[in-house]
Amino acid sequence: MKSFKYLALGTLAAVALPTLGLAQEEAAPAVTDEVVWIFNTLLFLIGGFLVFFMAAGFAMLEGGLVRSKNVTMQMTKNVALFSLAAIMYWLIGYNLMYPLGDWAIEGYFSGLFPSWGVLEPVYLNDMGLEGADDAAYASTGSDFIFQLMFCAATASIVSGALAERIKLWPFLIFVMILTGFIYPLTASWQWGGGWLSENIGFSDFAGSTVVHACGAAAALAGAIVLGPRLGKYKDGKVNPMPGSNLALATLGMFILWLGWFGFNGGSQLAMGSVGDVADVSRIFSNTNMAAAAGAVAALVLNQVIYGKADLTMVLNGALAGLVSITAEPLAPTLFLALIIGAIGGVIVVFTVPLLDKMKIDDVVGAIPVHGFAGIWGTFAVVLTGTSTVGAQVIGMVAIIGTTFVLSLIVWFILKAVVGIRVSEEAELQGLDTAELGMKAYPDFTKG
């Protein structure tokens, strides 16, 4: 999404001001500021619950792609990471990400303080729009819930890549740092009105880089420090460890696709004008097209290369299409959205085995989907002339680089201090039994 503060001013210019000025005399505005504000807030609320549901999507996708013996752990991680993200983003993240102008270090660092007064006073009714934090934007509470969901998404990405071997608590500690500090920091450079958006002109509409590649960078750092699952790479060969429930994984993908309408559509940040709601419609259409194209591209490519369709690649392909269009879901035509999404799908098919060659064990393909496709999507912005290659490169290097380095440091510290990997025996036995003493599918006889 665009830096909201600045979008706000934009909207103000485009919609609010004139009407404010004229409201007293003559004809009423086509859409009053109050109605605009209500619509914008509603967009965030709808976008908010849709993106929230992506947490379930990630959980199901990952739960379906790990082996049965690690499903309880994967579920525990995904519920816990979302919950911790919700707390950390409120405690530090939100204000770190949205300095609203006053920075500790101009354009780079906002400051660390909880969002005590993040919500508007109850019963604004008595004051109306004058009482609102930002009369030309939307309710702060709705913005908070919407932004929070993006933050949590980055952590979900990490959880998938590091599945089946990482310890619960060290992982959760990392999640707290990622969602409370790392993501909000790098995101503030772009969406908080920081140096990337202001000085560089980096463009990333809904976060191909700011959210997805960021999550992938944190995951990559973790995967490197953590190492591959036992037996995944043996004497130069890759030993696949098939996911335990592809129906569940498919459900997860569909839920993510659903959530993406809120993810990209909500990032328009406004719905209170004919133009804005039409833009949201464009975004819905392009987002859907890119996902479809990504799935088809992966399906066909696998058939061509390996002679067989690979469902897990189709799922990854659809998600890669979604990630690819996320940097610019508005400007493209449906045809361009198709191209962008399809290339995303192609990228996944080629980069999943590539990571394996590099012995980087990414259980669910999170790095290809959110990282490589995210980078592609960020470049694709240039195709619609919304930005320059240079600006995009700088933006990616800044965000992905910073996230990767900071994550690497955190992972190394965690490894040194508490250790991040379960014992060999625990890994072989499965984390559910070894770490939690609770199987996901315990029934022996189905009676």
Partner: protein, 112 residues
């Protein structure tokens, strides 16, 4: 009495059961197993990585019958489970010292 253990292809189960019933077999134990044998070893692709499939799904039958009936049972299984394709399975015969029917306490042949 003999214990006849047979590993066959899953989709042959129903057919074999019918054939055995028709020759008077009145009970058996069926287990889902993974079979390893000459059929094994073909490769599959998962997310771009090739790997060898060593175990193929099979169904194991365990049938205890009176000595006199053993050969006929083995023969029936062999002819019914046969598809002439590799992986059709194996049949093994072991001696059984004694048998008991839980419900009645009847023993040996009466228990079957």
């Amino acid at each position: 009495m003999k214990l006849i253990i047979a590993a066959i292809k899953p989709f042959k189960l129903e057919e074999v059961r019918e054939a055995l019933t028709s020759i008077g077999v009145r009970g058996m134990m069926v287990t889902e197993i993974k079979g390893f044998g000459s059929q094994s070893g073909h490769t599959e692709i998962y997310r771009g990585a090739e790997y060898a499939v060593n175990f193929v799904p099979k169904v194991k039958l365990e049938i205890v019958v009176a000595d006199g009936m053993a050969d006929q049972v083995v023969e029936t299984i062999q002819t019914t489970a046969k598809t002439d394709k590799i992986g059709d399975g194996k049949i093994f015969v072991l001696d059984v010292a004694s048998a008991v029917r839980v419900r009645t306490g009847e023993t040996n042949d009466d228990a079957l």
